[in-house]
């Protein structure tokens, strides 16, 4: 699987929490994920919706997705049509939620990546290429369970396909 897109970074790099990804103001009353996606990252960057394109990557530091268990957070990113989230590390609940719904997360050193860099993600080779800066970044291999969930398109499809757990 090869995915290409531009890097989108934020003023705050570490500990981007799920309240910032989708505010409680919206997640409690809006059930339609496409509608929710309009408000993705709003409290961290009110202008975000005007500065990304479909297929772009969210790039961050450590502990991305900390805080509440809201599945609306990875859902909002997925329905905003982001290519993946690339971070140094992820909070546990967000990590599970993302693979459950089929949102790709990549762990690697994100320090070299700058806003607007053109990135190519090659999952088979385990490399993230920063074309703008002409550098290769090694990505952390996906745990087998996560790779399996991703292959099946999330836990719902996994359950439908196998009639239960087959991890």
């Amino acid at each position: 699987m090869i995915v290409q897109g531009k890097a989108r970074r934020f003023k705050q790099d570490n500990d981007i929490n799920t309240d910032y990804i989708i505010s409680g103001r919206y997640k409690f009353k809006i059930q339609n994920p496409e509608e929710l996606a309009q408000y993705v990252m709003e409290d961290l960057d009110p202008d975000f919706k005007n500065r990304y394109q479909k297929g772009d990557f969210i790039v961050a530091g450590k502990n991305f997705g900390c805080g509440s268990s809201r599945e609306q957070a990875p859902q909002a990113i997925k329905y905003a049509k982001m290519g993946a989230v690339i971070a140094k590390s992820f909070a546990r609940i967000f990590y599970r939620n993302s693979f459950n719904i089929g949102l790709l997360l990549i762990e690697c050193d994100t320090d070299p990546i700058k806003e607007n860099d053109e990135l190519v993600l090659d999952l088979e080779k385990g490399v993230l290429k920063d074309i703008t800066q002409n550098i290769d970044i090694i990505i952390k291999p996906l745990p087998a369970v996560m790779a399996k969930l991703l292959e099946d398109g999330g836990i719902i499809n996994h359950f439908k396909k196998h009639g239960g757990f087959k991890l």
Binding site: D15, N17, D19, Y20, S23, G24, R25, K27, F28, K29, I30, Q31, D43, L44, K62, N63, C66, G67, S68, S69, R70, E71, Q72, P74, Q75, S89, A91, R92, I93, R96, N97, N100, I101, V145, G154, I155, I156, F159, K160, G164, F165, L167
Partner: protein
Amino acid sequence: MGKTIAEKIFSKKSGQDVHAKDLVLADVDFCMGQDGTSSIIIDSFREMGAKKVFNPKKIALVIDHSSPSPNLGVSAIHKKMRDFANEYGITLYDIGCGVCHQLLPEKGHVVPGDLVIGADSHTCSYGAINVFSTGMGSTDVAVGIISGQNWFRVPETVKFIFKNQLKKGVYSKDMALFIARHAGADGLTYMAAEYTGSAIDKLSVEARFTICNMAIEIGAKAGIMEADAKAIKWVQSRTNKKFTPVKADKDAVYADVREYDAAKIVPQVAKPHAVDNVVDAADVKHIEIQQGLIGTCTNGRLEDLEIAVSILKGKKIKKGLRLIIAPASAEVFIQAMKKGLVQTLMESGAAFVTPGCGPCVGTHNGVPSDGERVISTANRNFKGRMGNPNSEIYLASPATVAASMLTGKITDPRKFIK
């Protein structure tokens, strides 16, 4: 090789001899969803084509986060939950019953040695009564509701030992903030915390919930304590269920062991906009505040209201300030009324709202205005958490919140405690 509490519970629930880092499929004893997460639980349940739940007695849905409903969108979610609970014979705690994390232990749904999943990150609270409980997303909980199982990576454990005991005017909330200050927001990601030592033993069960509640704020999967006689008595007063408490082995292997002197902890405050941005309360005494909140799954219990009364009794909160109190459950509210706490606090100028999450999650019950500062007993102070990204939230103990309401500035409560 000896085992931690987490390793023992996962061995029992998976029927295998497992250790940290093993991947297991385990039976869950209880599943919970609240009104911020249940809509997706129900959608995922239906999408997976499920026709029944694994055991209706082991599932509860709780309407607590925006309760009663402040708008049409939330009303639709509440109705969806009521209809689903009716259809499958599941317990539903409707508006006014209280916060999910107060209700599950209080109503005797969870007991020592259990494995519990909840679609709310603060599900880790029940560790205070020796439950391995962890927050998950809605779809993971839907999977649990259908199959009675889920997959887990058995976590490594960090052991926190608190020696001696807390000094007067210092509370378990100060300990929880102290832990966040030292461990950091991602200090225990993918791991479990065991809290132990004489300072923990001396805490009431209510006070222990505050510490386990905030395990997620250091990224932990669970925060768990052994069940001593006090905890066992507390649980037995709420259920007739049989249970077997789980202790760590003497030779259990820990990722780290950290020892602190509880007597040296002073009142702590988390500054905006991160829970691990913690300082001594005395170091922020110049900060002016406009609103106070006492309540939430962290500090909305009877003991917390008693602490507030011990400071506010016979006094008025400073003119121009407002204090919102959200009891954690109907039972807490009723007991507080019987003891006269509600009257005392209202005479001081406090405003009570429906038992539940109150204004903590920013949907209603006290959204701050632009430029305002709130001092709160909640567990999160992220920007916009209380509904306005142009306001600031400071986190503290009920005593610090109460003392600050008298002065209008963040105040170390010890000067009000005899």
